[in-house]
Symmetry: C2
Subunit: 234 residues, 2 copies
């Protein structure tokens, strides 16, 4: 029997209309849907996005993506998810794994993919790109991400001071993702270096309480959650 | 009379199915379509993409985006395009400006936007993000762009050796865009620096003659065109 095919689908940053036509077509076609959830009791944001544009009675398999940096626990979860996917593919069924944003950009899919290739060397897989959060934020705040011959660096803000500092030495545009707890430190490093830059902080894009500001002083040093990005332009 | 609204629409990297649902909806709704062309006699790639998924009898206004680095000529063309767009908006008509890839990522739209805001301070504008070429290439070659706490830098390869070299000192993942004439030099700089990296070159994604390779030796030093990207992973 022929094996099934796996589709890894980026569902975009939150607005269901930012799904691609390809993502919608494949979601309508497949019967099996793998949904990553961060805790077993937590509803998947990616799933809530697609149900707004595709109505279908999928066979749904929730898979746990633990919120930890412990590589042993993570590897176990990736292997377990890969095993569950391989069981469906072995039955000759096509299936889709959905992910917020883009499957190639900081997505747990890339690890699951590796586990799966180890299990199924002849894996049939197709990756469907999705709009990233930082593209959506750039559109939202009406500011280009990058122009002309400038560079653009994307980096998770959860790094140590030294690494952030090094990256700030040679940039034209940087997007710091998950910057809710780190934007003050980044601002401080820029000031210490004497780098004059335009900062735009955007938080909770696509949610009702979402906002953005170009004046960090407005925030009074308040901590924000991980759905916060800081766009810095030299 | 109320002014019209301008939509800047990213139509993605080439595959018409990578348009977003939002892009399709807006293209179906607007009557006026601004299409950038690089020479007056050249057909627009962005336009050929959308006609595969949206059939409509738009009022089409082609606008010239000259392929030059001469800022005076460029500024003139941006101002002229802005003027044409403002004339349609002044009549209370909504219109769309289409762009390959994403309007915030190395798009001429960002300059036209600035010219337009100077003409119409109360411009109503909405930017619709699109899938970028480098995301599509990452999906095509089945390799993630960026994982974990790594950074991702995007840079046009058309830079001098010193700037390229500096950027290579501090990266985890770099995408060099328009790398057809520069991939050999980048490879050489990496070797000189003793940086061990995985290289993936992808050329003419979405075209019939498109290909990719992880072994630059296969190319025998051949020059490739500007629709060529080099993905470098440390």
């Amino acid at each position: 029997m022929d094996k099934g095919k796996l589709y890894a689908i980026g569902v975009g940053p939150g607005d269901p209309e930012l799904l691609t036509l390809k993502a919608k077509r494949i979601l309508e076609a497949v019967d099996y849907l793998f949904i990553p959830v961060s805790r077993e009791d937590k509803r998947s944001i990616a799933f809530s996005i697609i149900t707004k544009v595709v109505k279908k009675d999928w066979k749904i398999i929730e898979v746990l993506v633990p919120m930890t940096n412990d590589l042993v626990i993570l590897q176990e979860s990736w292997d377990e998810t890969a095993k569950k996917i391989s069981e469906v593919l072995d039955q000759g069924r096509d299936c889709a794994y959905i992910t917020l944003g883009d499957p190639g950009t900081y997505s747990s899919f890339s690890y699951i993919h590796k586990s799966l290739v180890a299990l199924m060397p002849n894996l049939k897989v197709e990756i469907i790109p999705g709009i990233t959060s930082y593209q959506a934020i750039s559109a939202w705040v009406n500011k280009p991400l990058v122009e002309g011959q400038e560079n653009l660096t994307i980096v998770p803000a959860v790094q140590n001071r030294e690494k952030i500092s090094t990256q700030l030495d040679n940039f034209d545009n940087i997007v710091f993702l998950k910057a809710g707890k780190k934007y003050r430190e980044i601002d401080e490093i820029l000031k210490q270096k004497g780098i004059s830059a335009r900062l735009t902080l955007a938080s909770r894009f696509g949610f009702e309480d979402g906002f953005y500001t170009e004046d960090l002083n407005e925030l009074n040093g308040k901590e924000l959650d991980y759905l916060t990005s800081l766009l810095v332009k030299k």
